[in-house]
């Protein structure tokens, strides 16, 4: 068996210096004419150990990281000599094919990210060798109704945050009259601290395209827009490349695989506005206007892009679809909470980051507890510090304290805590971070990103930010905190779009679970975490 070596060259790998590691390996393999296939891949998810190098040979599958260029010689020697070096190098991550010696990967269940870090994202052949476009072929043989039924039965729900049932959304799209329909893939990934969509697009771009093609077939759309943030240059490139390959292969353009279906992709780069992740704002942005949300109804399904029926889904939602068709809706639903009386099927990817030891991209069956994610997979806090909170859902989400860590990760249970499932950002906060400052941080963000169209959001977030700033400076009273609460109520109820409606969540959850920190700031003019500099 010829040895294969894979090096992850996603944004995260490159930021950790993976290019130099790759070049060192490539140089030595060429100089010494070694019988090794060197492969560039996307990110395996274990970003905390980047640069990651995986060796697949007769002995199985070994994972190493971080591997610096200086260590590549030792790594090659270890796998090329008949009797490998005695000691396991300290940069070994895992030596078992099933990763049972490495819980970070061993505990995950990978569906949408199954090929990230495994295939070369620049190679269509690699994707095809792993069942690529087989689900599309299947979909082209099925009636649109049968596809809708499968997606409905899978209990797939929107991964962009709100969790709307995808089968239902597609059925509404299907029912709309007229020939001119659009689908949109929302790859704006605006939550700071989230990188699920980036990892998927950089690591396995064809899966997203295949999901969109299946959706187009089910709904009857001929054009699909991918709205992707400009801050992800590698992902944008990967999409352009993948679309060109898919066209050459015959799954984009006219008469796809002889089925009579026509479909075109258009990539639209965002221009750095958080609110453009909101579906109505996103469509205005595609049309070339300021990205300001509009009132719903009408929903995009009835009147979206240029007034035509439009189906909009998140990257991960689309990326879930090929596996549902290949393995069956029952398989997908079985991984979620459906059997235990819940409403969600499948897996969800999270970007685990912040003060966590094993940060990276984690895909889990819906329903796993937060504690299992943070301790068993994430390895707890960095540098032996104490856990304080986990923040989910970015600026629209909330902070969950230690006492609620047994909450299962699903839409309903997380909402009950005051946080949300969100799109998958999961930031762990340790004892060195002040929770009032976290609330202030998010309000700085939402206040800055508020589009200014409606008064409650434009003025309300500004007032909330001012109050929070005064609290962190020790200049506020309890009356200010009370006013802050009632302001939260107003902004939540009266704002036009989700940005304003959810902006109070970081404040409300920190007030609810970390009220003593607010009190210390207000009554004793003291920051318990010692970070507010009073």
């Amino acid at each position: 068996m010829k040895t294969t070596i894979r090096v992850g060259l996603s944004t995260c790998g490159l930021a950790a210096g993976a290019r130099a590691t790759y070049d060192a390996l490539a140089g030595q393999i060429q100089r010494e004419q070694l019988p090794i296939t060197l492969q560039r891949t996307g990110c395996l998810g274990a970003c905390h150990r980047e640069p990651l190098v995986e060796v697949i040979d007769a002995g199985g599958c070994s994972l190493y990281g971080p591997v610096t260029p200086a260590e590549t010689g030792a790594l090659l020697a270890r796998h090329l000599t008949a009797s490998p070096g005695p000691a396991t190098p300290e940069w070994t991550v895992s030596q078992r094919t099933d990763r049972s010696d490495y819980p970070f990967l061993g505990r995950q269940v990978k569906v949408t990210t199954q090929l990230c870090g495994v295939i070369d994202p620049h190679s269509l052949d690699d994707y095809l060798a792993h069942d690529g476009y087989r689900a599309l072929r299947q979909a082209l043989q099925m009636s649109p109704e049968a596809i809708l039924q499968a997606v409905t039965d899978s209990h797939l729900r929107g991964r962009g945050g709100a969790g709307f049932p995808t089968g239902l959304k597609w059925s509404i799209g299907r029912k709309q009259p007229g020939q001119r329909k659009f689908i949109i893939c929302n790859a704006d990934e605006g939550d700071p601290g989230a990188f699920m969509d980036r990892t998927m697009i950089e690591g396995d771009p064809h899966r997203v395209l295949e999901g969109m093609l299946i959706a187009a077939r089910a709904i009857g759309a001929r054009t699909g827009y991918i709205y992707i943030r400009a801050e992800y240059p590698l992902a944008v490139k990967a999409l352009h490349e993948a679309i060109a390959q898919a066209r050459a292969y015959g799954v984009v353009g006219k008469n796809i695989l002889g089925s009579g279906m026509d479909f075109e992709f258009v990539i639209k780069e965002g221009a750095g506005a958080f609110v453009c992740g909101e579906e109505t704002a996103l469509m205005r942005s595609i049309e070339g206007y300021r990205g300001m949300p509009t009132m719903r109804p009408p929903y995009p399904a009835e009147s979206g892009l240029w007034g035509a029926p439009t189906n909009i889904n998140n990257v991960e939602t689309y990326a879930s679809v090929p596996s549902i068709l290949l393995n069956g809706p029952g398989w997908f639903a079985g991984m979620g909470t459906v059997a235990s009386g819940g409403k969600s099927g499948g897996t969800k990817a999270f970007a685990l980051a912040g003060a966590i030891r094993n940060s990276g991209l984690v895909e889990i069956p819906i329903g796993l507890s937060l504690r299992e994610m943070i301790y068993d997979i994430g390895g707890g806090c960095r540098d032996g510090r104490a856990f304080k909170a986990v923040q989910l859902g970015g600026p629209s989400g909330g902070c969950i304290p230690e006492s609620l860590l047994d909450t299962p990760v699903d839409y309903e249970n997380l909402r009950a805590t005051g946080a949300i499932m969100g799109s998958g950002g999961m930031i762990v906060v340790d004892e060195t971070t002040c929770m009032v400052d976290i609330a202030r941080y998010f309000l700085t963000f939402t206040q800055d990103e508020s589009c200014g169209k409606c008064v409650p959001c434009r003025v309300g977030t500004r007032k909330m930010l001012n109050t929070l700033t005064r609290i962190t400076r020790g200049q506020a009273s309890q009356a200010d905190v009370d006013r802050l609460l009632s302001l939260c109520e107003t902004v939540h109820t009266a704002s036009l779009c989700g940005l304003g409606q959810t902006a109070p969540n970081p404040v409300l959850t920190t007030l609810r679970y970390f009220g003593d920190e607010y009190r210390a700031h207000v009554e004793e003019h003291r920051c318990p975490a010692g970070s507010c500099g009073m």
């Binding site: 944004t11 990934e189 939550d191 990892t199 942005s285 990205g291 906060v429």
Partner: protein, 177 residues
């Protein structure tokens, strides 16, 4: 375009009068590519900024005329989106990530260190035209927080000192070249 060593910004500037003389070929090429597309405005703006580093007043006037939009609408779109800038950037664009993962890993300290060391604030350019300092909401390398982006390169696991060393190394590399 000839590179003029004494003025690093020169290469970005399209000084022609958009209404009087024909635009440089690279600018008209952008329009040829997108003319007729109903949604061209933002894409064209992005392409112009990629070409010149910023959006000059004459670019916007030219664009408004070509796409048959009121200049006010063009300006409204430009000022809505964070990506667009109306003045030339420095030779190197430094972006400090202020996303959540970077924030809880103390990226504020990196930003204030660079502000002090460079003597400029956010969205400002050093008087010698070398560096423009900016913040970014997140570049998706959150596992390596705190993150610094210099031009096209992303650097992870930064500290205030390491960030400053990254910039000075850039200078030295250029001095050697």
């Amino acid at each position: 375009m000839a590179s003029d060593k004494s003025d690093p910004l020169r290469k970005y500037v399209y000084r022609g009068d958009p209404l009087a003389e024909p635009p440089p070929p690279e600018l008209s090429a952008i329009f040829t590519r997108h003319r007729g597309a109903p949604d061209a405005l933002i894409t064209v703006l992005e392409d112009i900024q990629r070409q010149y580093g910023y959006l000059g007043q004459n670019h916007l006037q030219y664009l408004a005329r070509q796409l048959n939009f009121p200049l006010a609408r063009v300006y409204g779109v430009v000022t809505f989106y964070n990506l667009f800038r109306l003045d030339p950037p420095g030779k190197h664009q430094i972006r400090v990530c202020r996303g959540t993962a970077c924030h809880v890993n103390h990226s504020a300290a990196i930003l204030s260190h660079l502000e002090n060391a460079l003597g400029i604030g956010v969205d400002e350019t050093t008087p010698d035209g070398e560096f423009t300092l900016q913040t970014v909401a997140c570049v998706g390398a959150c596992s390596l927080a705190p993150v610094l982006v210099v031009d096209e390169h992303t650097y992870g696991r930064m500290t205030p000192d390491a960030a400053w060393r990254t910039l000075t190394a850039l200078d030295e590399r250029e001095a050697a070249a």
